[in-house]
């Protein structure tokens, strides 16, 4: 696909797959996609597919928060998902993806970190949220956030017997998400703002802004791409993200 063609379409408010600029592809969320995870989910946005599994392990609290557990978000851009992904240590792109997901969850306080405390000052749950894109057809960030929130809301703590975690037996207790900090990433192409770019459109993105929103409040922002954004751009982008919040959150209910 010719990059100039994609741009010239966008200038006319059109896209290669016939969508409106502010229209997501079809979103499908499934749960319990991997039995050994404490909680797991799959999010498909068009042909983009991301799976996320949550695992719990016992750790020690940080000295400055003795009664709070912690989350650890890791994204593995496995070469299964794209010819552009390579084996090796996490790329900056993978680390950025994980940290955007992390900040949306952490800063919105959508989970009560005190509920991850087992014994104050001694033992806490560490919730590992591991993100694996299986097919990268663009907009991995929004798909990863949806899959992570769903997997987290499904997760059940394992049993602890004689101070040992029994990973093979789950309790009925999990974490409640008291809000749903969904992320909409806005992409700027040829002066226009789009949501949910596919892989071909992603090649011509000038810049992007990921906006994590819960209950109309902004909890995390991440500007990416090589071109600067005006304050006016950012204002427009946030307006769209605010509008998309309900549309995305309903997939998690």
């Amino acid at each position: 696909m010719n990059n100039d063609y994609i741009k010239s379409l966008v200038e006319k408010g059109k896209r290669i797959d016939g969508r409106n600029l502010d229209e997501f592809r079809k979103i499908i969320i499934e749960t319990n996609i991997s039995k050994n995870a404490a909680g797991s989910a799959r999010c498909k946005i068009g042909q983009t597919e991301v799976i996320v599994g949550v695992k719990f392990d016992v750790g020690e609290p940080y000295p400055d928060s003795p009664d709070e557990g912690t989350i650890i978000v890791i994204a593995e851009l496995i070469p299964v998902a794209s010819p552009d992904f390579e084996l090796g240590p996490p790329s900056p792109k993978a680390t950025e993806l994980a940290r955007i997901v992390d900040r949306g969850i952490r800063e919105s306080k959508c989970i009560d970190f005190k509920k991850l405390c087992i014994k104050e000052g001694e033992k806490i749950w560490m919730a590992f949220i591991d993100i694996y894109p299986l097919n990268d057809d663009g907009n991995l960030i929004d798909a990863s956030v949806l899959a992570s929130l769903k997997a987290l809301s499904e997760a059940k703590f394992p049993k602890i017997v004689n101070d040992k975690v029994e990973h093979e037996s789950k309790t009925n207790n999990g974490l409640k998400l008291n809000k749903l900090p969904v992320t909409t990433t806005l992409y700027k192409i040829s002066g226009n703002i789009l949501v949910d770019v596919n892989n071909k459109e992603e090649q011509v993105v000038d810049s992007r802004l990921s906006v994590s929103v819960a209950d109309g409040n902004i909890h995390a922002l991440q500007k990416g791409g090589d071109v600067a954004l005006s304050i006016d751009d950012i204002s427009k982008m946030i307006d769209i993200a605010m509008k998309k919040e309900k549309e995305l959150a309903k997939f998690l209910k």
Binding site: S34, I78, Y132, L134, N135, H167
Partner: protein, 234 residues
């Protein structure tokens, strides 16, 4: 030491329920999913494509590279993401299991990459990975003389069984696990063993593997045929 009944009620020569699907990774040149019992493997093939760095290239023919990996949450205790000694070894034996059926002479200086990811593990993951990879290679259109099918056989207690699940691998009175892969001519392209077994029992187990691989080969062929029939109808 008598193992009288399998935990999940299967006969000793009965593999777990299988499911296969082609084209699960649209970005890949070929891809497949293979599920056997609770074990789920997906495989993606990229290539033949140019191999970098250049000094790895073979001017005579294309090379095959395989990588086997498990998602961190596929096993009861979280597996740290990234490479492991186990994964490295399994990747190597998988590569050797697939290579004998491939014809890469037409692709000098190129590489065919096979990436296997285990989504859910309940024993037999390398065999499920090989079975998925073989279908993915066919889907990618890489010239092949045959498919490769794989299954684990072994000894649980005093019984020779096919397709051990996790509870059988961990059988407290002892289990011997023998992952086997075969080309369509019943020749062996992967053979490993952990445990203790007599030669007679091993031969009996390999006979079971031959039958099991034939069954898996049929699932692979039917799935590929079904997939291409679907494309023709569209």
């Amino acid at each position: 030491m008598s193992y009288t009944k399998r935990n999940d009620g299967r006969k000793f020569d009965e593999p777990r329920k299988m499911e296969a699907k082609i084209g699960v990774i649209p970005r890949a040149d070929g891809s497949a999913m293979f599920k056997i019992g609770d074990t789920i493997a997906i495989a993606a093939v990229y290539g033949p494509r140019e191999l970098h760095p250049k000094f790895l290239q073979n001017p005579e023919k294309g090379i095959l590279r395989c990588n086997y990996d498990m998602t961190s949450f596929s096993v009861p205790e979280r597996k740290k993401p990234g490479p492991s000694r186990r994964g490295t070894e399994i990747s190597l034996v998988i590569e050797k299991s697939l290579l004998p059926v491939l014809d890469l002479n037409q692709f000098p200086n190129a590489v065919v990459d096979v990436f296997i990811e285990i989504i859910q593990a309940n024993a037999g993951t390398r065999c499920a990975g090989i079975t998925a990879a073989s279908m993915a290679l066919a889907h990618a259109g890489v010239p092949m003389r045959n498919l490769v099918s794989a299954v684990s056989v072994g000894k649980v207690g005093d019984k020779i069984v096919i397709d051990l699940d996790k509870s059988e691998e961990d059988y407290e009175e002892g289990a011997t696990d023998i992952p086997v892969a075969m080309n369509g001519d019943h020749e062996i392209t992967l053979l490993q063993l952990d445990g203790e077994i007599s030669k007679d029992e091993l031969l009996k187990a390999l006979e079971l593997a031959r039958k099991g691989c034939a069954e898996i080969d049929k699932v692979q062929r039917d799935t590929l045929k079904e997939f291409y029939r679907g494309i023709k109808d569209e």
